[in-house]
C-alpha cells in the first residue's frame, strides 16, 4: 500500500506565495490528522536556511510555519541532496529543532511511493 500524501516544496521562501501556502497546506492537513510527508527540493531548500531576515523586505518569516510542523505531528522532512549540492549548501546551514532531516538521493523513487503529491 502506498503512503498517503507527499507535499513537495520547491519554491524559494519569499519569491513566491506558493512557498508559504504550501506550508500552510501541510499544517492544515496535519491538523486534520492526515499527517503528510514533506520533500524540499530545488529552490525550496532555501526555505530551510537559518539566519533569514525577511523583515528587511517587509515579509513575514516562514520559520514559524516550519517550527510548527512538529507540533502538528510532522517529525521528519525529506531534503533533496542534489538540490543542496547544486546550491553549495551544507546540511549544517539548516537548524530546525524537533525535525529530523532525511537527505534523499533518489527523489523520484521517494515520490513514487505516494498516492498523492501536492506540489508547491
Amino acid at each position: 500500500m502506498s503512503l498517503q500524501t507527499l507535499i513537495l516544496c520547491r519554491r524559494a521562501p519569499y519569491g513566491s506565495a506558493l512557498a508559504r501556502e504550501g506550508l500552510e497546506a501541510a499544517l492544515a492537513s496535519a491538523a486534520m490528522d492526515q499527517i503528510p510527508d514533506l520533500l524540499f527540493s530545488g529552490d525550496g531548500i532555501f526555505q530551510l536556511l537559518d539566519n533569514q531576515a525577511p523583515e528587511e523586505i517587509q515579509q513575514k518569516s516562514l520559520l514559524r510555519n516550519l517550527q510548527a510542523l512538529p507540533l502538528f505531528g510532522v517529525e521528519r522532512i525529506h531534503i533533496c541532496q542534489q538540490s543542496l549540492n547544486r546550491r553549495g549548501i551544507g546540511v549544517d546551514a539548516i537548524a530546525l529543532p524537533g525535525l529530523e532531516l532525511t537527505l534523499v538521493e533518489d527523489t523520484g523513487a521517494l515520490i513514487a511511493r505516494y498516492q498523492h503529491v501536492l506540489s508547491f
Binding site: Q4, T5, S16, A17, L18, A25, A28, M32, Q34, H116
Partner: protein, 132 residues
C-alpha cells in the same frame, strides 16, 4: 473513479486554469465522479464574479458555474488565500469591512481542511498551475 482538482492559477494569467476546466469537463463527460475543485493561491481569482474579458476571448466563469450546476461538483475557494487576494463573499466583506463582495455564484469559501479531505477521499488528485 473519483477525482479532485487543485487549481493554483488565475484565469487569464496562463493556460492552466483553462486546462483545469477542460479536464474537469472531460472527467464528468467520461462518467467519472468529480468530487471537488479546490482553488488555491492565485487560483482563487477563478471564483471572482468581476472579470469582464472582451467578448471574443474565453470566459471561464460561466463554464465552471454550468459544470457545478450539472454535476454538483464542489467549487471550493480557499478562504485564507482569497482574503489575501480580495475574493470575498457577502458575509466576509461585511465581517472584514470591505466595500464590495465578489465571490461568484456556484463557488463557496472553505478552509484548507477541504484540500486535505479531497486528498483523502479521491482516487486521483490533479494539480493545475503548480511550479514549472
Amino acid at each position: 473513479m473519483k477525482f479532485s482538482l487543485v487549481v493554483y492559477s488565475a484565469p487569464h494569467a496562463g493556460e492552466s486554469a483553462a486546462t483545469a476546466l477542460r479536464f474537469a469537463q472531460a472527467v464528468a463527460r467520461q462518467g467519472h465522479q468529480l468530487l471537488r475543485v479546490f482553488f488555491y493561491a492565485d487560483g482563487v481569482h477563478n471564483g471572482s464574479a468581476l472579470p469582464a474579458p472582451p467578448q471574443d476571448e474565453q470566459n471561464l466563469l460561466r463554464p465552471w458555474q454550468l459544470l457545478q450546476r450539472e454535476t454538483g461538483v464542489e467549487l471550493v475557494v480557499c478562504i485564507a488565500a482569497a482574503q489575501r487576494r480580495g475574493v470575498l463573499s457577502q458575509s466576509e466583506a461585511k465581517r472584514l469591512e470591505r466595500p464590495a463582495a465578489n465571490l461568484a455564484e456556484g463557488f463557496e469559501l472553505g478552509g484548507l481542511g477541504q484540500l486535505a479531505d479531497a486528498s483523502a477521499h479521491s482516487d486521483r488528485l490533479v494539480t493545475f498551475g503548480g511550479p514549472a
